[in-house]
Protein backbone atom coordinates (compact mmCIF):
# COMPACT_ATOMS: atom_id res chain seq x y z
CA UNK A 1 0.00 0.00 0.00
CA UNK A 2 1.32 3.43 -0.98
CA UNK A 3 -0.08 6.41 0.89
CA UNK A 4 0.71 9.99 -0.09
CA UNK A 5 -0.20 12.49 2.61
CA UNK A 6 -0.40 16.27 2.19
CA UNK A 7 2.54 16.41 -0.20
CA UNK A 8 3.84 19.92 -0.84
CA UNK A 9 6.57 20.87 -3.28
CA UNK A 10 7.66 24.19 -4.74
CA UNK A 11 10.50 25.04 -7.12
CA UNK A 12 11.40 28.60 -6.26
CA UNK A 13 8.15 30.52 -6.36
CA UNK A 14 6.37 27.92 -8.47
CA UNK A 15 4.12 25.83 -6.24
CA UNK A 16 3.79 22.44 -7.97
CA UNK A 17 2.19 20.21 -5.33
CA UNK A 18 -0.16 21.84 -2.81
CA UNK A 19 -1.01 19.24 -0.18
CA UNK A 20 -1.64 16.24 -2.41
CA UNK A 21 -3.25 13.09 -0.95
CA UNK A 22 -3.42 9.76 -2.75
CA UNK A 23 -3.84 6.09 -1.80
CA UNK A 24 -2.59 3.30 -4.06
CA UNK A 25 -3.96 -0.14 -3.25
CA UNK A 26 -1.61 -3.11 -3.33
CA UNK A 27 -1.78 -5.02 -6.62
CA UNK A 28 -3.76 -2.32 -8.42
CA UNK A 29 -2.97 -0.20 -11.46
CA UNK A 30 -3.38 3.45 -10.51
CA UNK A 31 -3.07 5.99 -13.29
CA UNK A 32 -2.44 9.65 -12.48
CA UNK A 33 -3.76 11.89 -15.23
CA UNK A 34 -3.52 15.62 -15.57
CA UNK A 35 -2.34 18.42 -17.80
CA UNK A 36 1.23 18.69 -19.04
CA UNK A 37 3.41 20.53 -16.54
CA UNK A 38 0.86 19.88 -13.81
CA UNK A 39 3.25 18.00 -11.51
CA UNK A 40 2.56 14.34 -12.40
CA UNK A 41 6.23 13.50 -12.92
CA UNK A 42 7.15 15.52 -9.83
CA UNK A 43 4.72 13.36 -7.83
CA UNK A 44 6.28 10.21 -9.31
CA UNK A 45 9.80 11.39 -8.46
CA UNK A 46 8.68 11.83 -4.85
CA UNK A 47 7.28 8.29 -4.80
CA UNK A 48 10.60 6.84 -5.98
CA UNK A 49 12.63 9.03 -3.62
CA UNK A 50 14.36 11.18 -6.26
CA UNK A 51 12.82 14.37 -4.86
CA UNK A 52 12.26 15.46 -1.27
CA UNK A 53 9.03 17.32 -0.49
CA UNK A 54 8.80 20.63 1.33
CA UNK A 55 6.11 19.01 3.50
CA UNK A 56 4.06 15.82 3.62
CA UNK A 57 4.83 12.10 3.54
CA UNK A 58 5.00 9.17 1.13
CA UNK A 59 4.40 5.92 2.98
CA UNK A 60 5.26 2.62 1.30
CA UNK A 61 3.92 -0.12 3.54
CA UNK A 62 4.40 2.23 6.48
CA UNK A 63 7.95 3.38 5.61
CA UNK A 64 8.17 7.11 4.87
CA UNK A 65 10.44 7.31 1.80
CA UNK A 66 10.71 11.08 2.14
CA UNK A 67 12.61 10.65 5.42
CA UNK A 68 14.73 7.63 4.47
CA UNK A 69 18.36 7.88 3.38
CA UNK A 70 21.14 5.56 2.27
CA UNK A 71 20.64 1.87 2.85
CA UNK A 72 17.16 2.23 4.33
CA UNK A 73 15.99 4.02 1.19
CA UNK A 74 17.77 1.46 -1.00
CA UNK A 75 15.90 -1.32 0.82
CA UNK A 76 12.59 0.23 -0.30
CA UNK A 77 13.94 0.86 -3.80
CA UNK A 78 14.90 -2.80 -4.17
CA UNK A 79 11.16 -3.48 -4.34
CA UNK A 80 10.75 -0.96 -7.18
CA UNK A 81 10.87 -1.10 -10.94
CA UNK A 82 10.78 2.19 -12.81
CA UNK A 83 10.03 2.89 -16.47
CA UNK A 84 11.26 6.40 -17.22
CA UNK A 85 9.65 8.69 -19.78
CA UNK A 86 12.54 8.44 -22.24
CA UNK A 87 13.37 4.86 -21.27
CA UNK A 88 16.66 5.89 -19.57
CA UNK A 89 18.40 2.93 -21.17
CA UNK A 90 22.18 2.82 -20.75
CA UNK A 91 23.32 3.76 -24.23
CA UNK A 92 26.74 2.15 -23.81
CA UNK A 93 25.07 -1.27 -23.39
CA UNK A 94 23.07 -3.44 -25.76
CA UNK A 95 19.34 -3.99 -25.14
CA UNK A 96 20.19 -7.37 -23.56
CA UNK A 97 22.93 -5.71 -21.49
CA UNK A 98 20.39 -3.20 -20.20
CA UNK A 99 17.95 -5.94 -19.15
CA UNK A 100 20.79 -8.01 -17.66
CA UNK A 101 22.20 -5.09 -15.66
CA UNK A 102 19.81 -5.13 -12.66
CA UNK A 103 19.96 -8.95 -12.53
CA UNK A 104 23.74 -8.89 -12.42
CA UNK A 105 24.26 -5.84 -10.24
CA UNK A 106 21.12 -5.70 -8.07
CA UNK A 107 20.31 -9.40 -7.61
CA UNK A 108 23.88 -10.66 -8.25
CA UNK A 109 22.70 -13.70 -10.21
CA UNK A 110 25.05 -16.06 -12.04
CA UNK A 111 25.75 -15.45 -15.73
CA UNK A 112 23.78 -18.50 -16.93
CA UNK A 113 20.66 -17.52 -14.99
CA UNK A 114 20.99 -13.90 -16.12
CA UNK A 115 21.11 -15.03 -19.78
CA UNK A 116 18.01 -17.22 -19.36
CA UNK A 117 16.00 -14.48 -17.64
CA UNK A 118 17.07 -11.80 -20.12
CA UNK A 119 15.98 -13.96 -23.04
CA UNK A 120 12.65 -14.66 -21.32
CA UNK A 121 12.10 -10.97 -20.52
CA UNK A 122 12.84 -9.85 -24.07
CA UNK A 123 10.52 -12.55 -25.45
CA UNK A 124 7.82 -11.40 -23.04
CA UNK A 125 7.93 -7.89 -24.52
CA UNK A 126 8.10 -9.21 -28.08
CA UNK A 127 11.77 -8.47 -28.68
CA UNK A 128 13.24 -11.96 -29.00
CA UNK A 129 16.49 -11.91 -30.98
CA UNK A 130 16.89 -8.12 -30.63
CA UNK A 131 19.14 -8.27 -27.56
CA UNK A 132 22.36 -7.56 -29.43
CA UNK A 133 21.14 -4.19 -30.73
CA UNK A 134 22.08 -0.94 -29.00
CA UNK A 135 19.27 1.42 -27.83
CA UNK A 136 20.27 3.90 -30.57
CA UNK A 137 19.70 1.21 -33.21
CA UNK A 138 16.08 0.41 -32.32
CA UNK A 139 12.82 2.38 -32.67
CA UNK A 140 11.16 4.43 -29.92
CA UNK A 141 8.54 1.75 -29.31
CA UNK A 142 11.20 -0.94 -28.98
CA UNK A 143 13.17 1.22 -26.55
CA UNK A 144 10.05 1.57 -24.37
CA UNK A 145 9.60 -2.20 -24.43
CA UNK A 146 13.24 -2.76 -23.46
CA UNK A 147 12.73 -0.26 -20.62
CA UNK A 148 9.65 -2.21 -19.47
CA UNK A 149 11.60 -5.48 -19.69
CA UNK A 150 14.43 -3.96 -17.61
CA UNK A 151 12.01 -2.63 -14.99
CA UNK A 152 10.16 -5.95 -14.66
CA UNK A 153 12.97 -8.48 -15.03
CA UNK A 154 13.71 -8.40 -11.29
CA UNK A 155 10.01 -9.06 -10.60
CA UNK A 156 9.49 -5.95 -8.45
CA UNK A 157 6.52 -5.54 -6.13
CA UNK A 158 5.86 -1.95 -7.22
CA UNK A 159 6.34 -0.56 -10.72
CA UNK A 160 6.26 3.12 -11.67
CA UNK A 161 5.60 4.14 -15.26
CA UNK A 162 6.36 7.74 -16.21
CA UNK A 163 4.38 8.40 -19.40
CA UNK A 164 5.42 5.09 -20.97
CA UNK A 165 3.68 5.80 -24.27
CA UNK A 166 4.58 9.44 -24.89
CA UNK A 167 5.55 10.09 -28.50
CA UNK A 168 4.31 6.74 -29.83
CA UNK A 169 1.71 6.18 -32.53
CA UNK A 170 -1.81 4.99 -31.44
CA UNK A 171 -1.10 1.37 -32.38
CA UNK A 172 2.07 1.31 -30.31
CA UNK A 173 0.27 3.08 -27.43
CA UNK A 174 -2.29 0.24 -27.34
CA UNK A 175 0.43 -2.38 -27.74
CA UNK A 176 2.37 -0.99 -24.76
CA UNK A 177 -0.78 -0.65 -22.64
CA UNK A 178 -1.83 -4.22 -23.36
CA UNK A 179 1.69 -5.40 -22.65
CA UNK A 180 1.60 -3.67 -19.26
CA UNK A 181 -1.82 -5.17 -18.53
CA UNK A 182 -0.70 -8.65 -19.55
CA UNK A 183 2.47 -8.43 -17.43
CA UNK A 184 0.45 -7.07 -14.51
CA UNK A 185 -1.90 -10.07 -14.67
CA UNK A 186 1.08 -12.39 -14.75
CA UNK A 187 3.29 -10.74 -12.12
CA UNK A 188 0.64 -9.02 -9.91
CA UNK A 189 2.75 -5.94 -9.14
CA UNK A 190 1.36 -2.66 -7.83
CA UNK A 191 1.53 -0.13 -10.65
CA UNK A 192 1.53 3.65 -10.53
CA UNK A 193 1.40 5.20 -13.97
CA UNK A 194 1.56 8.80 -15.03
CA UNK A 195 -0.13 9.33 -18.37
CA UNK A 196 -2.34 11.56 -20.45
CA UNK A 197 -3.38 8.93 -22.93
CA UNK A 198 -7.15 9.48 -22.83
CA UNK A 199 -9.23 7.32 -23.30
CA UNK A 200 -6.77 4.39 -23.65
CA UNK A 201 -5.75 4.34 -19.98
CA UNK A 202 -9.36 3.71 -18.90
CA UNK A 203 -8.99 0.20 -20.32
CA UNK A 204 -6.08 -0.74 -18.10
CA UNK A 205 -6.51 1.31 -14.91
CA UNK A 206 -8.14 0.04 -11.73
CA UNK A 207 -8.07 3.56 -10.32
CA UNK A 208 -7.68 6.91 -12.05
CA UNK A 209 -6.58 10.02 -10.16
CA UNK A 210 -6.90 13.44 -11.75
CA UNK A 211 -4.17 15.87 -10.68
CA UNK A 212 -5.12 19.51 -10.94
CA UNK A 213 -3.42 22.56 -9.47
CA UNK A 214 -1.22 20.51 -7.18
CA UNK A 215 -3.97 18.38 -5.67
CA UNK A 216 -5.95 15.30 -6.63
CA UNK A 217 -9.17 16.79 -8.00
CA UNK A 218 -10.93 13.44 -8.29
CA UNK A 219 -10.07 9.79 -7.80
CA UNK A 220 -11.97 6.59 -8.52
CA UNK A 221 -12.50 3.71 -10.93
CA UNK A 222 -12.39 4.59 -14.65
CA UNK A 223 -16.19 4.49 -14.99
CA UNK A 224 -16.61 6.99 -12.15
CA UNK A 225 -14.01 9.35 -13.59
CA UNK A 226 -15.55 9.12 -17.07
CA UNK A 227 -18.94 10.01 -15.66
CA UNK A 228 -17.61 12.70 -13.31
CA UNK A 229 -19.58 15.95 -13.15
CA UNK A 230 -16.40 17.79 -12.08
CA UNK A 231 -15.82 20.38 -14.84
CA UNK A 232 -12.01 20.08 -14.55
CA UNK A 233 -12.17 16.31 -15.09
CA UNK A 234 -14.75 16.60 -17.86
CA UNK A 235 -12.72 19.21 -19.70
CA UNK A 236 -9.56 17.08 -19.48
CA UNK A 237 -11.02 13.75 -20.58
CA UNK A 238 -12.95 15.36 -23.41
CA UNK A 239 -9.94 17.43 -24.46
CA UNK A 240 -11.98 20.62 -24.52
CA UNK A 241 -9.93 23.76 -25.20
CA UNK A 242 -9.65 26.38 -22.50
CA UNK A 243 -12.05 29.28 -22.78
CA UNK A 244 -10.52 32.72 -22.93
CA UNK A 245 -11.41 34.80 -19.90
CA UNK A 246 -14.45 36.97 -20.42
CA UNK A 247 -15.57 34.91 -23.42
Amino acid sequence: MIKVERLVKAFGRQQVLRGLDLDVATGSITVVIGRSGGGKSVLLRHLIGLLRPDAGRVLVDGADVTRLHGRALDEVRRRYGVVFQGGALFDSMTCAGNVAFPLREKLRLRAAEVATRVEAALTQVGLEGMGSKYPAEVSGGMRKRVAIARALVTEPEIVFFDEPTTGLDPILVNTIHHLILELHRKLRFTAVMVSHEIPEIFEIADTVAMLHEGRIAEVGPPAVIQASPNPVVRQFIRGEPERAEGA
Binding site: I48, G49, L50, D74, E75, R77, R78, Y80, V82, F84, Q85, G86, A88, L89, F90, D91, F101, P102, E105, K106
Partner: protein, 264 residues
Protein backbone atom coordinates in the same frame (compact mmCIF):
# COMPACT_ATOMS: atom_id res chain seq x y z
CA UNK B 1 3.70 36.05 6.45
CA UNK B 2 5.19 38.26 3.72
CA UNK B 3 8.80 39.44 3.93
CA UNK B 4 9.33 43.15 4.51
CA UNK B 5 11.38 44.66 1.65
CA UNK B 6 14.93 45.60 2.65
CA UNK B 7 15.93 49.27 2.78
CA UNK B 8 17.76 50.31 -0.39
CA UNK B 9 21.05 50.85 1.46
CA UNK B 10 21.14 47.26 2.75
CA UNK B 11 20.43 45.57 -0.59
CA UNK B 12 24.08 45.39 -1.78
CA UNK B 13 25.00 43.76 1.54
CA UNK B 14 22.12 41.33 1.12
CA UNK B 15 23.32 40.44 -2.40
CA UNK B 16 26.90 39.89 -1.21
CA UNK B 17 25.63 37.73 1.65
CA UNK B 18 23.52 35.58 -0.69
CA UNK B 19 26.43 35.21 -3.09
CA UNK B 20 28.80 34.20 -0.27
CA UNK B 21 26.33 31.61 1.02
CA UNK B 22 25.87 30.21 -2.50
CA UNK B 23 29.66 29.94 -2.96
CA UNK B 24 30.14 28.19 0.40
CA UNK B 25 27.25 25.81 -0.38
CA UNK B 26 28.72 25.01 -3.81
CA UNK B 27 32.16 24.37 -2.29
CA UNK B 28 30.52 22.15 0.32
CA UNK B 29 28.75 20.08 -2.36
CA UNK B 30 31.98 19.90 -4.35
CA UNK B 31 33.93 18.64 -1.31
CA UNK B 32 31.21 16.23 -0.22
CA UNK B 33 31.18 14.75 -3.72
CA UNK B 34 34.91 13.94 -3.48
CA UNK B 35 34.45 12.59 0.04
CA UNK B 36 31.68 10.27 -1.17
CA UNK B 37 33.79 9.12 -4.12
CA UNK B 38 36.85 8.41 -1.95
CA UNK B 39 34.65 6.61 0.59
CA UNK B 40 33.23 4.48 -2.23
CA UNK B 41 36.71 3.64 -3.55
CA UNK B 42 37.66 2.30 -0.12
CA UNK B 43 34.56 0.14 0.36
CA UNK B 44 33.60 -3.00 -1.61
CA UNK B 45 32.28 -4.00 -4.10
CA UNK B 46 35.06 -2.80 -6.40
CA UNK B 47 33.91 -2.30 -10.00
CA UNK B 48 37.01 -3.77 -11.69
CA UNK B 49 35.75 -3.74 -15.29
CA UNK B 50 34.43 -0.18 -14.98
CA UNK B 51 37.93 0.76 -13.73
CA UNK B 52 39.60 -0.98 -16.70
CA UNK B 53 37.17 0.75 -19.06
CA UNK B 54 38.03 4.14 -17.54
CA UNK B 55 41.78 3.47 -17.91
CA UNK B 56 41.13 2.82 -21.59
CA UNK B 57 38.92 5.91 -21.82
CA UNK B 58 41.24 8.33 -20.01
CA UNK B 59 44.65 6.81 -20.69
CA UNK B 60 44.78 4.79 -23.88
CA UNK B 61 42.66 7.25 -25.88
CA UNK B 62 44.96 10.14 -24.83
CA UNK B 63 48.15 8.36 -25.94
CA UNK B 64 48.50 9.99 -29.35
CA UNK B 65 48.03 13.54 -28.09
CA UNK B 66 50.51 12.88 -25.26
CA UNK B 67 53.14 11.51 -27.68
CA UNK B 68 52.68 14.44 -30.07
CA UNK B 69 52.70 17.24 -27.51
CA UNK B 70 55.48 15.60 -25.46
CA UNK B 71 57.71 15.26 -28.51
CA UNK B 72 57.23 18.82 -29.70
CA UNK B 73 57.54 20.29 -26.19
CA UNK B 74 60.94 18.58 -25.84
CA UNK B 75 62.02 19.79 -29.26
CA UNK B 76 61.05 23.43 -28.57
CA UNK B 77 62.70 23.22 -25.17
CA UNK B 78 65.87 21.76 -26.72
CA UNK B 79 66.04 24.54 -29.28
CA UNK B 80 65.35 27.47 -26.96
CA UNK B 81 67.43 26.28 -24.04
CA UNK B 82 70.38 25.43 -26.33
CA UNK B 83 70.55 28.98 -27.74
CA UNK B 84 70.31 30.44 -24.24
CA UNK B 85 73.02 28.16 -22.84
CA UNK B 86 75.35 28.80 -25.79
CA UNK B 87 75.52 32.46 -24.75
CA UNK B 88 77.07 31.37 -21.44
CA UNK B 89 79.15 28.59 -22.96
CA UNK B 90 77.14 26.04 -20.99
CA UNK B 91 75.43 24.06 -23.77
CA UNK B 92 76.69 20.86 -22.15
CA UNK B 93 73.91 21.32 -19.62
CA UNK B 94 71.19 21.06 -22.27
CA UNK B 95 70.31 17.47 -21.23
CA UNK B 96 69.74 18.27 -17.53
CA UNK B 97 67.92 21.52 -18.37
CA UNK B 98 65.48 19.74 -20.69
CA UNK B 99 65.05 16.76 -18.35
CA UNK B 100 64.56 18.82 -15.17
CA UNK B 101 62.10 21.21 -16.85
CA UNK B 102 60.08 18.29 -18.14
CA UNK B 103 60.24 15.97 -15.13
CA UNK B 104 59.60 18.59 -12.43
CA UNK B 105 57.26 20.98 -14.19
CA UNK B 106 56.24 20.78 -17.81
CA UNK B 107 55.59 17.05 -18.00
CA UNK B 108 53.00 16.82 -15.21
CA UNK B 109 51.34 20.14 -16.07
CA UNK B 110 51.16 19.82 -19.85
CA UNK B 111 50.22 16.12 -19.76
CA UNK B 112 47.41 16.94 -17.30
CA UNK B 113 46.19 19.83 -19.48
CA UNK B 114 46.23 17.60 -22.56
CA UNK B 115 44.34 14.76 -20.84
CA UNK B 116 41.85 17.33 -19.51
CA UNK B 117 41.16 18.59 -23.01
CA UNK B 118 40.92 15.12 -24.51
CA UNK B 119 39.41 12.87 -21.84
CA UNK B 120 38.17 15.24 -19.10
CA UNK B 121 35.79 17.07 -21.40
CA UNK B 122 34.50 13.76 -22.79
CA UNK B 123 34.01 12.47 -19.23
CA UNK B 124 31.88 15.51 -18.32
CA UNK B 125 29.84 15.28 -21.52
CA UNK B 126 29.25 11.53 -21.07
CA UNK B 127 28.11 11.80 -17.46
CA UNK B 128 26.13 14.98 -18.27
CA UNK B 129 24.21 13.20 -21.02
CA UNK B 130 23.58 10.29 -18.65
CA UNK B 131 22.16 12.79 -16.17
CA UNK B 132 19.81 14.58 -18.59
CA UNK B 133 18.57 11.31 -20.11
CA UNK B 134 17.77 9.97 -16.60
CA UNK B 135 20.33 7.13 -16.84
CA UNK B 136 21.82 8.23 -13.50
CA UNK B 137 18.33 8.31 -11.97
CA UNK B 138 17.80 4.80 -13.36
CA UNK B 139 20.90 3.61 -11.48
CA UNK B 140 19.72 5.36 -8.30
CA UNK B 141 16.26 3.77 -8.34
CA UNK B 142 17.84 0.35 -8.89
CA UNK B 143 19.36 0.97 -5.43
CA UNK B 144 22.80 1.14 -7.08
CA UNK B 145 25.20 3.99 -6.36
CA UNK B 146 26.00 6.11 -9.46
CA UNK B 147 29.14 7.29 -7.63
CA UNK B 148 30.36 3.68 -7.45
CA UNK B 149 29.69 3.01 -11.13
CA UNK B 150 30.66 6.31 -12.71
CA UNK B 151 32.82 8.43 -10.41
CA UNK B 152 34.97 6.10 -8.29
CA UNK B 153 36.36 4.14 -11.29
CA UNK B 154 37.20 7.43 -13.06
CA UNK B 155 39.08 8.87 -10.06
CA UNK B 156 40.93 5.60 -9.54
CA UNK B 157 41.78 5.47 -13.25
CA UNK B 158 43.00 9.08 -13.01
CA UNK B 159 45.37 8.04 -10.21
CA UNK B 160 46.83 5.30 -12.42
CA UNK B 161 46.84 6.98 -15.84
CA UNK B 162 48.05 10.51 -15.05
CA UNK B 163 51.48 9.41 -13.69
CA UNK B 164 51.82 6.99 -16.64
CA UNK B 165 50.88 9.67 -19.17
CA UNK B 166 53.31 12.07 -17.48
CA UNK B 167 56.14 9.50 -17.60
CA UNK B 168 55.45 8.98 -21.28
CA UNK B 169 55.33 12.74 -21.90
CA UNK B 170 58.69 13.16 -20.10
CA UNK B 171 60.37 10.30 -21.99
CA UNK B 172 59.16 11.47 -25.41
CA UNK B 173 60.03 15.09 -24.51
CA UNK B 174 63.59 14.14 -23.51
CA UNK B 175 63.89 12.27 -26.79
CA UNK B 176 62.58 15.38 -28.63
CA UNK B 177 65.27 17.47 -26.91
CA UNK B 178 67.83 14.84 -27.94
CA UNK B 179 66.73 15.07 -31.60
CA UNK B 180 67.20 18.83 -31.64
CA UNK B 181 70.27 19.09 -29.37
CA UNK B 182 72.22 16.08 -30.59
CA UNK B 183 70.98 15.27 -34.09
CA UNK B 184 70.31 18.84 -35.27
CA UNK B 185 72.65 21.12 -33.29
CA UNK B 186 75.57 18.72 -32.92
CA UNK B 187 75.85 18.24 -29.16
CA UNK B 188 77.40 14.88 -28.28
CA UNK B 189 75.09 12.09 -27.19
CA UNK B 190 77.27 11.33 -24.16
CA UNK B 191 77.11 14.94 -22.95
CA UNK B 192 73.34 15.12 -23.37
CA UNK B 193 72.58 11.93 -21.41
CA UNK B 194 75.64 11.87 -19.16
CA UNK B 195 75.00 15.28 -17.61
CA UNK B 196 71.35 14.35 -17.25
CA UNK B 197 72.28 11.38 -15.06
CA UNK B 198 74.43 13.62 -12.84
CA UNK B 199 71.79 16.29 -12.28
CA UNK B 200 68.45 14.50 -12.17
CA UNK B 201 67.86 12.60 -8.93
CA UNK B 202 64.99 10.66 -7.40
CA UNK B 203 63.50 13.67 -5.62
CA UNK B 204 62.95 15.39 -9.01
CA UNK B 205 61.16 12.33 -10.32
CA UNK B 206 59.08 12.08 -7.14
CA UNK B 207 58.10 15.75 -7.42
CA UNK B 208 56.73 15.09 -10.90
CA UNK B 209 55.07 11.90 -9.70
CA UNK B 210 53.22 13.55 -6.78
CA UNK B 211 52.13 16.39 -9.01
CA UNK B 212 50.74 14.06 -11.68
CA UNK B 213 49.01 11.94 -9.05
CA UNK B 214 47.25 14.96 -7.58
CA UNK B 215 46.34 16.28 -11.05
CA UNK B 216 44.75 12.89 -11.75
CA UNK B 217 42.43 13.36 -8.77
CA UNK B 218 41.72 17.03 -9.53
CA UNK B 219 40.80 16.49 -13.19
CA UNK B 220 38.62 13.42 -12.70
CA UNK B 221 36.96 14.97 -9.62
CA UNK B 222 36.13 18.25 -11.37
CA UNK B 223 35.04 16.62 -14.63
CA UNK B 224 32.79 13.98 -13.03
CA UNK B 225 31.30 16.57 -10.65
CA UNK B 226 30.48 18.95 -13.49
CA UNK B 227 28.84 16.09 -15.40
CA UNK B 228 26.86 15.03 -12.35
CA UNK B 229 25.54 18.54 -11.67
CA UNK B 230 24.82 19.43 -15.29
CA UNK B 231 22.02 21.90 -16.13
CA UNK B 232 19.23 21.28 -18.60
CA UNK B 233 19.50 20.01 -22.15
CA UNK B 234 22.29 20.24 -24.69
CA UNK B 235 23.16 23.78 -23.58
CA UNK B 236 23.63 22.54 -20.01
CA UNK B 237 25.99 19.80 -21.17
CA UNK B 238 27.97 22.25 -23.32
CA UNK B 239 28.31 24.67 -20.41
CA UNK B 240 29.29 21.93 -17.97
CA UNK B 241 31.95 20.66 -20.38
CA UNK B 242 33.44 24.13 -20.85
CA UNK B 243 33.33 24.79 -17.09
CA UNK B 244 35.01 21.45 -16.38
CA UNK B 245 37.91 22.13 -18.75
CA UNK B 246 38.40 25.72 -17.56
CA UNK B 247 38.17 24.87 -13.84
CA UNK B 248 40.43 21.82 -14.20
CA UNK B 249 43.04 23.84 -16.12
CA UNK B 250 43.02 26.68 -13.58
CA UNK B 251 43.21 24.26 -10.64
CA UNK B 252 46.10 22.38 -12.30
CA UNK B 253 48.14 25.60 -12.53
CA UNK B 254 47.21 26.83 -9.04
CA UNK B 255 47.88 23.43 -7.46
CA UNK B 256 51.15 23.15 -9.42
CA UNK B 257 52.37 26.39 -7.84
CA UNK B 258 51.30 25.17 -4.40
CA UNK B 259 53.04 21.81 -4.87
CA UNK B 260 56.11 23.62 -6.21
CA UNK B 261 56.41 25.56 -2.98
CA UNK B 262 55.87 22.52 -0.75
CA UNK B 263 57.80 19.76 -2.49
CA UNK B 264 61.65 19.76 -2.46
Amino acid sequence: MTERPLPLTLRPLDAIGRWAIAVVEALGRFGTFLGQALGTILTPPFKFWAFVDRIHYIGYRSLLIILLTGGFTGMVLGLQVYFTLVRFGSEAYLGPAVALSLIRELGPVLAALMVTGRAGSALTAEIGIMRITEQIDALTVMALSPIRYLVAPSILAGLVTFPLMTALFDAVGIFGGYLVGVELLGLSQGTYFGEMQSFVDLSDIMTGFWKSLSFGVIVTWVCTYKGFTVGHGAEGVAKATTDAVVLSSVLILVWDYFMGTVLP
